[in-house]
Symmetry: none
Subunit: 404 residues, 2 copies
């Protein structure tokens, strides 16, 4: 069985609204072993919907439509699809009375334009809407089923779960989905280390999902054992780059280690400007281990609050190994934490020199055992350099604590 | 001229990665008067790409592909499209040498699999990649142009702007797109204040684009004068909620005011955990006005570093008007800045009480003229409450300085 998705709406095409419905449906369908094969977005025009219907591939069995079931003039999805298949749209007096009553109970006056929503494609199936006024429909034509749902996300989701899933699930085996999250290694180097191992697991689909701050490896397969075996195989090959699984972020992993060890942390951020603190505090309960931090953007803050020596700043500069070390040690002392972490670098676009180019970043890690520093050189724009700097700093905390 | 978009990637179809490329391209194309007519997402399979190529409507002139130009086994876009049109892929020794050198300069070893990226579709045009190793291509076939770009967003964006826009823009009448950015007012209240004014400008399409941290109002029209007149009309009605235009973020607006006035600022962040500092440092040149800040997550940091009185914390609590005031004053004194801004609140999900519920936030603003504090109550999850807190704090800086 093969499923496609068609989302209807000018706002989606012009990118002014994110197409969260398609992503949500993609995840839900994948979870029940029915990953969508294609997804088409079109505008609210009769011609666009007609072309879309014409273009449905022969090997697609089910199509889920979302959007264009509202009461206004640009809500034309159901009418256009019905016309295309020569299906009559009847006025549904019973539903109209029900809608009127529902509006009355809510203390609202129904508009005449809501009559557009009280229609019924003759001989087809209605999908009830438990939340709003826009009912959906299932149109079966040319050996395909079209599930027509509204675009308002809570309505679409409720109707998909109640009325679409039971019909499409039938006898399918659910898929196992595993996401392995890595950082500190580029996609090409990761792929080289892994070689052709995916060939040994023909029932599992493996994909690299590269982002600048790390590469995820996703495994999908209906054979749970095979997925798990490939996962162990990958752990054996590239384990040191793996920080977590599923949707777990690096800041959660770091938070869990700190909490489990009963350690507190403080940040001394220059080039990241507060981003490490922001990320650590995205995790509920982070006040258990994060005491706080110093955003040391100016040299005065570095020396006066963190206690970086004037001579260090003069001799080695604010972006140097020595300054990163004194910042990490300084914030640990200043906030009386178990661990101090620091970043100092040149985010860009300005401020670079030949010896200290844009993208040069030092991270410091101070603990009872002493202090370590690492040097990085990134080649992106300001915002990405900041994100990468926060990522390597968090990863440094993870590695230092895991190996301690 | 009519443009379509094809994004390639299993991870997009299965909803594991948001299709931000399509949304971004949708916005950019709309801005130059070329709103895309359709957008298709497909997986990384030869058959899927072939079907997509077959399904391109006759009336589409240009198609922008993104994704599948990486070095690994599932990166098959360029090869499959070339095969489909019987175009030879030559190995490009020159580019391979260049890539090797580029990797060397960055202190990295190139992988053999990167050879996959050093290919050249015979007789077609290469799109250089200023950031990464994946070059794009322009394939002209069957009176259509296919622009093939990588899926990594910064690379795709740079290549679109440098190499695609100049070719597709040609002789088109650009539409005027104006985005008016507001914050501090909900969509329904904004719409009520604006009434039916868009009816007075029949050539301009107006849309509300609500997000949690603010509502954008978008105007599109080919009549520049009419768009501008409606813009002035909106400014007259809801001007005090408008912080900027186009893609300008609130942190840029705040930065510009500080720079123009020659003022310095320091942050004292509790519930935002560094997010205000992070946002201020997203703007190039922010070191001109941001001295730094204190992330005062624990009470000890609030009292020992910021100088919030013990009795204030005991009597009123860490989340209180009084604490917000002393934090703003304290960071101003501690970092010797012109302005101090503070946040203290309960981001959630835990930590709320009947009198101090989740979402309660105080923002303080201290300057030579004294100190002000504002109270807010948000009703979202932890991450959104943090974002909204940073937004109201930045907006408070803007309003205080604009009215000063």
């Amino acid at each position: 069985m093969s499923v496609g998705i068609i989302t209807v709406g000018n706002e989606l095409l012009t990118g002014f609204i994110d197409d969260t419905n398609a992503a949500w449906l993609g995840r839900e369908l994948t979870r029940i072993g029915l990953a969508p094969v294609w997804h088409l977005t079109i505008g609210d025009q009769v011609g666009a919907i007609q072309s879309a219907l014409e273009s449905i591939p022969d090997n697609t069995d089910d199509v889920i439509f979302t959007g264009g079931l509202g009461p206004t003039h640009d809500d034309i999805t159901l009418r256009t699809i019905s016309d295309y298949y020569n299906i009559n749209l009847e006025f549904d007096e019973l539903y109209w009375q029900e809608l009127r009553a529902r509006f009355e109970r809510a203390g609202r006056v129904i508009s005449e334009i809501n009559r557009n929503q009280a229609v019924l494609p003759q001989g087809q199936t209605i999908i009830p809407n438990p939340i709003g006024s826009a009912r959906g429909a299932i149109i079966t034509k040319a050996q395909k089923r079209l599930f027509i749902l509204p675009g308002v996300p809570p309505e679409m989701k409720a109707m998909y779960s109640a009325s679409v899933v039971p019909l499409i699930k039938s006898a399918l085996l659910p898929a196992t989905v595993e996401v392995i999250r890595t950082t500190g290694i580029m996609e090409s180097a990761l792929a080289e280390k892994m070689g052709q191992i995916h060939n040994q697991y023909p029932t599992v689909t493996m994909a690299y999902l590269p982002r600048i701050i790390g590469v995820d490896i996703r495994l999908i397969g209906s054979d749970y054992g095979a997925v798990n075996k490939l996962k162990s195989h990958i752990q054996a090959l590239v384990g040191k780059y793996i920080y977590g699984y599923g949707a777990t972020d690096l800041e959660e992993v770091v938070g869990k280690i700190l909490k489990d060890r009963g350690l507190t942390i403080a940040t001394a951020e220059s080039c990241t400007g507060g981003l490490i603190g922001h990320r650590l505090t995205e995790v509920p309960g982070s006040s258990d281990y994060l005491l706080g931090g110093i955003i040391a953007y100016s040299n005065a803050v570095k020396s006066e609050i963190l206690g970086v020596k004037e001579e260090t700043l003069i001799k080695y500069g604010a972006v140097s190994e020595e300054t990163a070390i004194e910042m990490a040690e300084g914030v640990r002392k200043c906030l009386n934490s178990d661990i101090g972490v620091s970043t100092t670098g040149i985010a860009g676009p300005g401020g670079g020199t030949v010896t200290k180019p844009v993208g040069l970043v030092y991270c410091g890690f101070a603990s009872e055992q002493g202090v370590r520093v690492r040097k990085f050189h990134f080649h992106f724009n300001r915002k990405m350099n900041k994100r990468l700097s926060s990522q390597v700093a968090l990863n440094m905390i993870r590695l230092e604590l895991e190996n301690a």
